[in-house]
Symmetry: C3
Subunit: 202 residues, 3 copies
């Protein structure tokens, strides 16, 4: 079940990745590469830092699913753009899921909680940042969009709830609901970081 | 023989790397660093992902050759620019060679063919992309130039021929000829990705 | 003692990192992430290449110190900007320290001197370059500012002095004084690479 959700998340990340770079002008090869990087980039950096086997080398399905979804997004761009808001919500859900799964993965390696939270956030947002750097776009690190903050708070909440309930399942579901809801709210209300938490732009 | 060719390829990559960034304004330190990164960047990312010892740590000659060639290119830019088309062909040959050698290296580690092809392409184009990102240039991922596609096709062909002939030599030579020829054709005819395989630019 | 100095260097790198990106427009999350990356990025790439445990996974204090300093720099930007020149000198000292400590670390792994020098320079300047790439700024690789050259010369000097004196302490102090002085001179006189060592800009 979790496996299916992660594959769905991989596909969604690849699709939103291709849509994000679509306007810049890119050929099918570049689109597929950048879609795959969006989907697997964060987890790859995490595994490199942890000196763990890269997850998609162990299970190449991540590449097939990410690459296939990117191909679809390249050729059916208009269809997907019509559903952009749905994709945005799915993307928020996938980002929350990836972050929490990574946090648990790192805790399972007996590493400290702050480090697990850090790796959770990195897994979640690393791929999108890598894509933006490679595509020459302004990355979300430089924007006031509320994307990373819900994941940061959600991963912290997960670590706390896991201690309180002593159950990965309960903590996971609660943190997933919390993180997704916060991101959904940010999408729905088009929330931005308050000015006091941002430097002047331009 | 292969060793000599790889060193030649390293030098060519470093030289075209320096020529590519020459217009942007760079000092000799930056030029040498970016030339070396062009030459060894792709293989470095490959070795990191495979958790193999980085190839140029085991054999520092790659750094000397890449750095020396970059220095030459920095001080003799005009000479090299006069031979730019020759360099472009040599670069295409080196890219094909690096891609195929990397594909064989990964197959030799008993990893699956699709993964070997992926690492072949990454080895071949990764250094140039890293250079462009570091230099703030538009990377070839965002261009319609036909650079990566011949390597992708060539690495796939190599895997197939290796199975058919059961010989690394025969498969290697045939794939090398195929890949280089395709790239040479793209250079000679200034081919671009057909519009249907590209998004609108600008 | 060295530990305290490295933590101070980490804080200084994080602060100058935040000040460098302040004008571009960034929220508190992006500022802290980029400040931390400035502080630990170079050493992280070094440890990945050497296949060593990442230094800040072993000792998370680097993250706390870097993150805390980045937070301070975000909220007290004006205070820090008033002391910008002092920070610039501290940054030069920290860069020299990080470079020399990394050179010694690599020599201690029985790796060759040229490689140790290369890793020293990478440790010292890698974080700032990573920050610039992520923030979409022109990196110091593309500028004529004299930043990396003193570190390169200082790390080479360190390797030589270490052989001559047979003492890490003496070699370290002399190389640190030499490297810092050279950088301080470059800051004070606003030295730039001579035109003959740079390509035309623009």
């Amino acid at each position: 079940m979790l496996y299916f959700q992660q594959m769905l998340g991989t596909a969604v990340f690849a699709i939103t990745g291709v849509l994000a770079i679509h306007k810049v002008g890119v050929d099918v090869f570049g689109a597929v590469v950048l879609g795959i990087i969006t989907a697997i980039g964060g987890g790859t950096i995490r595994d490199l830092l942890l000196d763990q086997p890269i997850f998609w080398i162990a299970d190449f399905n991540y590449i097939w699913v990410g690459g296939g979804a990117a191909l679809l997004a390249f050729f059916l761009t208009k269809r997907f753009q019509q559903r952009y808001r749905l994709l945005l919500y799915l993307d928020g859900f996938a980002a929350a899921l990836f972050g929490l799964v990574a946090t648990e993965k790192v805790l399972g390696l007996q590493l400290a909680a702050p480090f697990a939270v850090m790796m959770g956030v990195l897994t979640s947002i690393g791929g999108g940042i890598a894509r933006d750097v490679l595509a020459g776009r302004t990355s979300l690190l430089m924007s006031r969009e509320i994307y990373a903050t819900p994941i940061l708070l959600g991963c912290i909440l997960y670590v706390l709830l896991r201690d309180v309930f002593g159950s990965i399942q309960i903590a996971g579901w609660l943190a997933l609901i919390f993180t997704s809801s916060l991101r959904f709210l940010a999408i729905y209300k088009e929330l931005q970081m308050p000015a006091i938490l941002s430097t002047s732009q331009g």
